[in-house]
């Protein structure tokens, strides 16, 4: 796995030496199970229990650990991955059927813009944008036939877009103190969701995430991490699953809310395709 390499790419001495260093942040983000548990702390409950209050405070702290430039470089990494992926696909003769090229051409255009935007945004903070990683979309040992089999390409496309939605959502809190950056990230976030909806539907899936596993979302189970936690039906402290029997029940409740992923969860997914 290339996760460590990716972390190294994201790291630099300046941050390692500063308070709340990137490496520390990643270590803390690494306690995945804990973060997932905290993320589901009910807000109504939080008000009535001091223990829950502390947990809510921890959740805030976790959400605020990454600095804005770290978040932007993280976003840039994802956008590099997507741009590279769609560029190769569009350049591969015979992969994308003529009827679908308009869609993927539009998505490529957006991901290319996003790369340029996040590069400029990092520079705008006086930081150095991370260089583009080297990607391997066969996933190394997975030996995926990504650019030979349209079905594989489409499945990965869906996975990347759904992951992108979750990744940006997971960083909203870390950008909350910068109105401009938060808004820019939201403006990218919803475009990723448009892409995800379109690709999912082209694959015969619902445009919205149906909870469940990778398999139930139509992609190989090796990518379970992409949909882990999406089946959540507890929002704002209330179990909603049983409250809407006449409106689609628990399935519709799952679909009605997209769930975030932490930075390390996203990098673990993206890292599968990053060589260096």
């Amino acid at each position: 796995m290339n996760f460590i390499k990716l972390l190294d790419n994201l790291s630099n001495q300046e941050f390692l030496n500063s308070k709340g260093s990137r490496r520390d942040s990643f270590k803390q983000f690494g306690k995945t199970g804990k973060n997932i548990a905290l993320a589901s702390i009910p807000f109504a409950l939080a008000a009535t229990s001091s223990k829950a209050k502390a947990a809510t405070a921890s959740m805030s702290a976790a959400a605020f650990q990454a600095t804005p430039s770290e978040v932007l470089n993280f976003a840039l990494t994802l956008e590099y991955l997507e741009r590279n992926f769609y560029q190769i696909a569009m350049d591969t003769d015979g992969l994308i059927p003529e009827a679908d090229r308009a869609v993927f051409g539009q998505i490529l255009k957006h991901e290319s813009s996003h790369v340029e935007f996040f590069k400029a945004a990092v520079e705008g903070l006086g930081e150095e944008p991370i260089p583009e990683p080297t990607f391997d979309f066969t996933g190394g040992d997975l030996m995926l036939d990504t650019f030979e089999n349209y079905a594989t390409f489409m499945a990965l496309s869906q996975g990347f877009e759904d992951t992108g939605v979750r990744a940006f959502k997971g960083q909203a809190g870390a950008l909350a103190n910068d109105n401009d950056l938060l808004t820019f990230a939201l403006q990218v976030h919803s475009v990723e969701a448009r892409h995800a909806s379109q690709v999912r539907r082209m694959r015969g899936q619902k445009g919205w995430v149906t909870g469940g596993t990778a398999a139930s979302n139509g992609i190989p189970s090796v990518f379970d991490a992409i949909y882990a936690g999406e089946a959540n039906t507890v929002q704002g402290g209330v179990e909603l699953a049983g409250l809407f029997p006449d409106f689609g029940g628990p399935q519709a409740v799952q679909e009605a809310f997209d769930e975030p992923l932490t930075m390390d969860e996203v990098l673990a997914i993206g890292g599968i395709f990053i060589v260096s």
């Binding site: 008000a47 935007f117 400029a120 938060l182 029997p245 519709a252």
Partner: protein, 255 residues
């Protein structure tokens, strides 16, 4: 249809102190799914401690409460629209197993869930200051007509996306539950965007409509690759034509 309840926003948004808040939240959620449709009758009125003055117009309020009420207004509109859409001849005439019917039905479910969720969330922290149930008028929109329903659905979903994108920065994350509200807005806005893409593609299948240049904006000269982020004033001006219940938004945060 119940007559709109009109009252004046007076209280500042306060942190939850009521030990019964969770129970209340659950109660609201349960009530919401009892009976036909989502007409809550007048059960809410018991919570109002001050006499209602019909001359005074409801204001969405300030701070995070104002933003929650603002989102609740938009979700009421969307949910009401789909509730009417699924009663129309266009929807009922679709084949039960068609994707088109599934998309509209799911959007209806999701928006009803969003609406009831906001109702419960606001009732939990500010039961006396929740936006009343609004009434709507869709003018010339023909719920029996495919083009009319789909184009209006797309308009509402695109508006919802730009509204949540613009509201994110208005949420005060230093206030109680502020970070939770911001995340919830993020959880909902991407579902609105998924809806918007699906409706756009139903209207113009297989094209760039799902994320078309005409709805996206440029950032920093990098291209038309970003959804809009609109302030409440613009959103209310755009969606307000459908809302017949008068309310004001005089105290919403602007940054």
């Amino acid at each position: 249809m119940k007559k709109p309840v009109i009252k004046v926003q007076k209280k500042e948004f306060a942190p939850i102190e009521n030990n019964n808040s969770r129970r209340q939240f659950l109660k609201m959620g349960s009530l919401a799914v009892v009976g036909s449709g989502f007409l809550l009758s007048c059960s809410n009125d018991d919570d109002f401690t001050e006499p209602v003055d019909p001359e005074e117009v409801f204001d969405l309020g300030s701070g995070n409460l104002g933003i929650l009420n603002y989102a609740y207004a938009l979700e009421q509109l969307e949910a009401d629209f789909y509730t009417k859409a699924v009663a129309g001849a266009y929807y009922t005439g679709l084949a039960d197993d068609s994707e088109e019917k599934q998309i509209i039905r799911d959007a209806w479910y999701h928006e009803v869930i969003h609406r009831e969720f906001f109702k419960a969330a606001i009732s939990d922290v500010a039961p006396n200051d929740i936006l009343p149930e609004l009434e709507f008028d869709y003018g010339s929109i023909d719920f029996d007509n495919r083009d009319s329903v789909l184009s209006t659905a797309l308009l509402l979903e695109d508006t919802g996306v730009s509204a949540y994108n613009g509201a994110g920065k208005l949420i005060d994350v230093t206030a109680p539950l502020g970070d939770v509200y911001l995340l919830l807005a993020g959880k909902i806005v991407s579902v609105e965007a998924r809806h918007a893409a699906a409706f756009a593609d139903l209207i113009n299948p297989g094209t760039t409509a799902f994320a078309r240049d005409g709805i996206l904006v440029d950032l920093g000269g990098t291209g038309l690759s970003y959804d809009k982020a609109l302030p409440p004033s613009e959103v209310i001006a755009a969606a307000g034509g459908f809302i017949t219940t008068e309310f004001t938004a005089n105290q919403l945060p602007t940054s």
